[in-house]
Symmetry: C2
């Protein structure tokens, strides 16, 4: 448990994260714009990445550079994850869930007003 808390703690500013990943800052911001990652932000609206974020980004990087999967492909793959099976949300929740039927975007890019998922955090590699 200790461990899980630690890897999720936001510590790296964008420049450091970029350096650790071997990519540029604009690229990192672009991944966020595409909805592939959602880092923590400071009160002043600056991004801070956790160790878990970096791991997720390494996974994305591998998909792009090695597996030759396009960003839209990754988005679609993420959107195929049936998060409702993981979360076991209610029938009622599903009816108002925007993510339940789309395959264009990962579930976490949608808003989940008034559902079990409101503050959840999904992922997969």
């Amino acid at each position: 448990m200790e461990n899980i808390v630690e890897v999720k703690t936001p510590i790296y500013p964008i420049r450091t994260a970029a350096k650790l990943l071997g990519i540029s800052v604009p690229t990192l911001r672009m991944y966020e714009k595409e909805g592939l990652i959602i880092p923590h932000k400071t009160d002043g609206n600056q991004r801070i990445y956790s160790e878990a974020d970096l791991e997720r980004l390494r996974c994305i990087r591998r998909a792009i550079s090695e597996s030759k999967i396009s960003i839209n492909g990754i988005k679609t793959i993420y959107s195929l994850i049936p998060c409702w099976e993981v979360v076991k949300c209610s029938e009622g929740d599903r009816k108002v869930c925007n993510a339940f039927q789309s395959h264009e975007q990962p579930c976490w890019t949608f808003t989940h007003p008034n559902t079990t998922c409101e503050n959840r955090d999904c992922k997969e590699c």
Copy 2:
């Protein structure tokens, strides 16, 4: 039932299929090489496409041109389809199934020796 048989009947030679899809013959052959489609072949090893093949290819075409999903992305998406849930194959079958664990290629690009799937035909859009 009649209908299903009809759409699966191979009728179009490659040139016709290419024209109907608005793409070139080499492209069509490339999709096959990538494992996205497996058309019927004549005794003389020439491809013949069914109406169902064309529909599948239109789906692939949309994924590439409109959704901007790379071919490797499509392959991965196809490989994520849990065919074993559709087919309800046995535990024994799964143990010898090459497709059961990989996410690099669609299940139908693997050989299925001595399993329920031996002569099956999967798809999704």
